[in-house]
C-alpha cells in the first residue's frame, strides 16, 4: 500500500474544493455545459443515458480495506447501493447527482481516493498487474513506478489537454496481466546486464475503431530516465497528434502514420534535450516513494497446512481452490481471486454490503489489502493458506465464491446500451445469458481457460478485439447485431481477433458462442490445448465452417 503524505493529501483536498467551485458555477449557470463538460470529465463525471456516471480511480488496482469501505459508503449514500469495477481498475457509480458529487469526492479524499483524470483527454489511471508485489518471479514491485507515474501525470500542466485520452500500463512479470500491448504507453520492467532497473517502452497500442498492438520504441530506458522519456513521447504527441478527427486522435494513429522509426527519432531528439533536466529521478526520490509503500510482515508458514489438507476432502472447496487460488511469492501464502461474475449477474458489479464484507475479510485474512484486476475481478493478495477454508466459507456466504476465474463465464463486458449513451447494443444481458448457458462448472472446467469480451460499440471498452472470443455490438437497420471474432489475446503474445462470419442478431448470440465452444471441443488436439491455442494452430476457417454451416 502507498500511504499519502502531506503533499498528496493537500493536492486532493485542493482538487475537491476546486471542483466544488466548478459545480457551483455550473449550477448557477455561470459555466455553460460545454465549458463544464471538460472540467467534469477531468474529475471522472460522464453524462450517460439516465444520469451522471462517476468514475473513481483505483491507482494500479490497490485498495485498503478502509478505502473499500468508503467506496461502499459512496455507493450507499449517493448511489443505488452498488458499484461497477471496470477494465481500468476503476470503479463506477451510475446514478449519482451532480449536486452530491463534491461531497462524495470529499468523503473519498479523506481516505486518499480521487477521481482525477479518470476521463477526458488526459492521462488516465495508471494500471498495473493486480498481483504486483506478490507474484512469484516478479522482477520487482511495479507499483513504485506506477505511483511515480501517477504523481507525474496528475494535473500535468502541459498534458492536460491532449488530442485524446492517454493510458499507461506497467508489468514486471514475464506473464503480462496488465495488457501493456494495448496501451498508449506500455512499460515492461526488467533489468539490464548491470542489474539496473529499467523499462522496455512500448507505444501506440489501443483498441477502439482502429485496433493496434503497441510497438517497442526502446528496449531499455533506465529507471532514472523514465519520466524524461515519457515526457518526450507526450510532447511529440501533444504537438503532432491529430486533432481534426476524434477517431484518429490517439497516439496509435500518429505512430502508425509516421511509422515507429520516424516517431522514435522525433522522441529521441526531444529526449536528448530534457533527459538531464529536473525530470531525472534521483535515487533518493525513488527511495522516498518506495518507503511510503508498506508490506505485510509475513509469518513463517508451512507449504501445506493441516487445515488445507482436511478441507481437500470437500469437493466444493477444492473446486474453488483450484480455480481461484494462485501461488504467492511467500511460502504458506496465496493470492485469492474473487470473481465478480456470478451466474446471471452483470460482470464487475459489487453491492455496498459485499464491499463492506470483503473489507472485513481483507482485514481478517489479507493484511487489510484488496486488489482490482482489469478482468473486473477483485483479489485478496496475502492470504495464509491455513485460512483458505474459512475464507472460502465466508466468501460463499456473500456470493463471492463463484469458481469461474478465467473460465468461459468470467466475461469482461462494458456497460453497453443499458447505461451508455455511446453504445449501439446491449452488453450486460448478453454476458448474463452466457453465464447461464455455461453455468455448469464441470462443463466450464472441461472447456478450460477462455476469455469472452463484449463491447456494446466500436469504442471497445469491453476489449472485444483481444478476447479469445470477442463480441461487438453494432446497429443494423435499428436492431442490435453482434460481430464475433476469435483468437484475440491481451497478454504478452497480444493479438487481435479475426471475424468468423457475418454478424448475428441479439437472440442468436448465445447459440453462436455455444457453437464456437463446441467446435473447439471437437477440434482441440488434446484436452489441455487451450481454446486460444487451437485457434492459433488451425486458424479461423474450421470454426467458421462448423458454426455457420447450418446458418
Amino acid at each position: 500500500m502507498y500511504a499519502y503524505d502531506e503533499i498528496d493529501r493537500t493536492l486532493i483536498d485542493e482538487r475537491v474544493s476546486e471542483f466544488r467551485d466548478q459545480v457551483k458555477r455550473r449550477l448557477s449557470g455561470e459555466l455553460t455545459e460545454d465549458e463544464f463538460k471538460m472540467l467534469r470529465l477531468q474529475n471522472g463525471v460522464y453524462l450517460q443515458l439516465h444520469a451522471y456516471m462517476f468514475r473513481v480511480a483505483i491507482p494500479y488496482g490497490t485498495l485498503s480495506s478502509k478505502q473499500l469501505r468508503r467506496l461502499a459508503h459512496v455507493a450507499r449514500r449517493y448511489d443505488r447501493g452498488y458499484g461497477h469495477f471496470t477494465t481500468r481498475q476503476n470503479i463506477q457509480f451510475n446514478w449519482i447527482k451532480l449536486a452530491d458529487l463534491p461531497d462524495a469526492l470529499a468523503d473519498l479524499a479523506e481516505v486518499g481516493i480521487h477521481s482525477m483524470q479518470t476521463s477526458g483527454n488526459n492521462t488516465r489511471n495508471v494500471t498495473s498487474d493486480q498481483w504486483a508485489g506478490v507474484a512469484p518471479g516478479e522482477v520487482e514491485d511495479p507499483r513504485i513506478w506506477s505511483e511515480i507515474l501517477r504523481q507525474y501525470t496528475t494535473l500535468h500542466p502541459e498534458f492536460s489537454f491532449l488530442p485524446r485520452k492517454f493510458k499507461f500500463a506497467i508489468t514486471a512479470s514475464e506473464h503480462d496481466r496488465a495488457a501493456i500491448k494495448i496501451h498508449d504507453i506500455g512499460l515492461r520492467l526488467h533489468k539490464n546486464e548491470q542489474g539496473e532497473t529499467g523499462f522496455e517502452v512500448l507505444v501506440g497500442g489501443g483498441l477502439g475503431r482502429t485496433p493496434l498492438i503497441a510497438k517497442t520504441i526502446r528496449p531499455f530506458v533506465h529507471g532514472r530516465d523514465l519520466l524524461s522519456y515519457v515526457e518526450a513521447i507526450m510532447r511529440v504527441y501533444n504537438q503532432y497528434g491529430r486533432r481534426d478527427n476524434i477517431y484518429k486522435a490517439r497516439i496509435k494513429i500518429l505512430v502508425h502514420e509516421l511509422g515507429i522509426e520516424k516517431f522514435a527519432e522525433e522522441v529521441e531528439e526531444e529526449w536528448q534535450h530534457i533527459r538531464n533536466s529536473d525530470l531525472k529521478l534521483e535515487a533518493a526520490t525513488i527511495e522516498d516513494i518506495r518507503s511510503r509503500f508498506t508490506y505485510p510482515t509475513y509469518a513463517k508458514l508451512p507449504h501445506m497446512p493441516d487445515e488445507l489438507r482436511k478441507a481437500a476432502h470437500d469437493p466444493l472447496f477444492e473446486r474453488w481452490r483450484k480455480n481461484s487460488v494462485s501461488p504467492h511469492k511467500v511460502q504458506g501464502y496465496s493470492i485469492v481471486t474473487i470473481s465478480l461474475k456470478p451466474v446471471g449477474g452483470p460482470p464487475g458489479d459489487a453491492t455496498a454490503e459485499q464491499m463492506d464484507a470483503l473489507a472485513d475479510l481483507a482485514d481478517k485474512y489479507s493484511f487489510g489489502e484488496i486488489r482490482v484486476g482489469h478482468e473486473q475481478n477483485l483479489a485478496l493478495p496475502h492470504v495464509a493458506k491455513h485460512d483458505l477454508p474459512a475464507l472460502w466459507k465466508a466468501l460463499d456466504k456473500i456470493g463471492l465464491a463463484t469458481p469461474n476465474v478465467n473460465l468461459v463465464s468470467d466475461i469482461i463486458a462494458c456497460p453497453g446500451l443499458d447505461y451508455c449513451s455511446l453504445a449501439n447494443a446491449r452488453s450486460i444481458p448478453i454476458a448474463q445469458e452466457l453465464t447461464r448457458r455455461f453455468a455448469n462448472h464441470d462443463t466450464a472446467d472441461l472447456i478450460g481457460r477462455l476469455h469472452i469480451n463484449i463491447s456494446g460499440c466500436i469504442n471497445a471498452c469491453g476489449h472485444h478485439h483481444v478476447g479469445h472470443i470477442g463480441i461487438l455490438g453494432v446497429e443494423k437497420n435499428g436492431e442490435e447485431f453482434y460481430q464475433i471474432t476469435i483468437g484475440g489475446r491481451a497478454d504478452e503474445k497480444a493479438e487481435l481477433g479475426t471475424l468468423i462470419g457475418p454478424s448475428v442478431p441479439y437472440n442468436e448470440v448465445a447459440d453462436v458462442i455455444e457453437d464456437v465452444v463446441e467446435a473447439y471441443l471437437a477440434l482441440r488436439a488434446t484436452p489441455d490445448e487451450l481454446f486460444i491455442d487451437t485457434v492459433k494452430r488451425l486458424g479461423v476457417e474450421p470454426f467458421r465452417e462448423r458454426v455457420y454451416a447450418t446458418r
Binding site: Q22, M38, Y152, P157, E158, R235
Partner: protein, 171 residues
C-alpha cells in the same frame, strides 16, 4: 477582453495589427506570424516594442532566432481543449530562455490559469470579465505541484527531499 498581467487586470498597451493594415510609426504592435515572417526586419527595427502571435500548429524554429528582440509572444488556444500551446510555452521558456511576455490568447478560461502559469505564461487575454476578476483567487487554488517545470515552483519530489533533510537534521 480583459488582459491580466502581473496578476491584475491591466491596460493592453499593444495594438493588434491586421495583416493588411499600415504599420504605425509609433506604438507597440502585435502582428501575426505571417506578417512578421514576411519581413521581420521592418518590424524589428522600429523603436517601439513588437509582439508576435504564433499559431499553435507551427514549429517555433522560425521564431527562435528573433526572440531576443521580441517583447511579447502571444500563443493561441483556438478552444480550451486544444493544448498545443502549453508545449510551445514551455519550450519558449525552458529551452529558448524567452524572458519577454508570454501571453495566452483565444479561449482562455479561469480553470486553465494554473496550468498556464506553470507552463510559463505571464499574461492572459481572458475571455470573460468574471474570470479575469477571479484570477487572484483562482491561482491560489493549488499550493502543491507534482511536476518540475520551468516556472520556479518547487515540485513535490524536491520538496519531499527538503522535508526529509530537515526532518533528519532536527533529530
Amino acid at each position: 477582453m480583459p488582459l491580466v498581467r502581473g496578476g491584475n487586470i491591466s491596460q493592453d498597451d499593444f495594438v493588434q495589427l491586421a495583416d493588411d493594415a499600415p504599420l504605425p510609426e509609433k506604438g507597440a504592435v502585435l502582428v501575426s506570424a505571417a506578417r512578421f515572417l514576411a519581413d521581420p526586419q521592418v518590424l524589428l527595427q522600429r523603436s517601439d516594442r513588437l509582439g508576435v502571435i504564433w499559431p499553435n500548429n507551427r514549429d517555433l524554429d522560425d521564431l527562435v532566432p528573433h526572440l531576443e528582440r521580441i517583447a511579447v509572444v502571444a500563443l493561441v488556444f483556438p478552444t480550451f481543449r486544444d493544448g498545443r500551446a502549453y508545449s510551445q510555452a514551455r519550450l519558449l521558456r525552458e529551452r529558448y530562455a524567452f524572458r519577454g511576455e508570454l501571453r495566452a490568447t483565444g479561449q482562455v478560461l479561469r480553470d486553465q490559469f494554473v496550468f498556464m502559469l506553470r507552463a510559463g505564461f505571464d499574461a492572459f487575454d481572458v475571455k470573460k470579465q468574471t474570470d479575469a476578476e477571479a484570477f487572484g483567487q483562482t491561482v491560489k487554488r493549488y499550493s502543491v505541484f507534482y511536476q518540475p517545470t520551468g516556472d520556479g515552483r518547487l515540485a513535490a519530489p524536491f520538496r519531499r527531499l527538503q522535508l526529509r533533510h530537515s526532518e533528519s537534521a532536527s533529530l
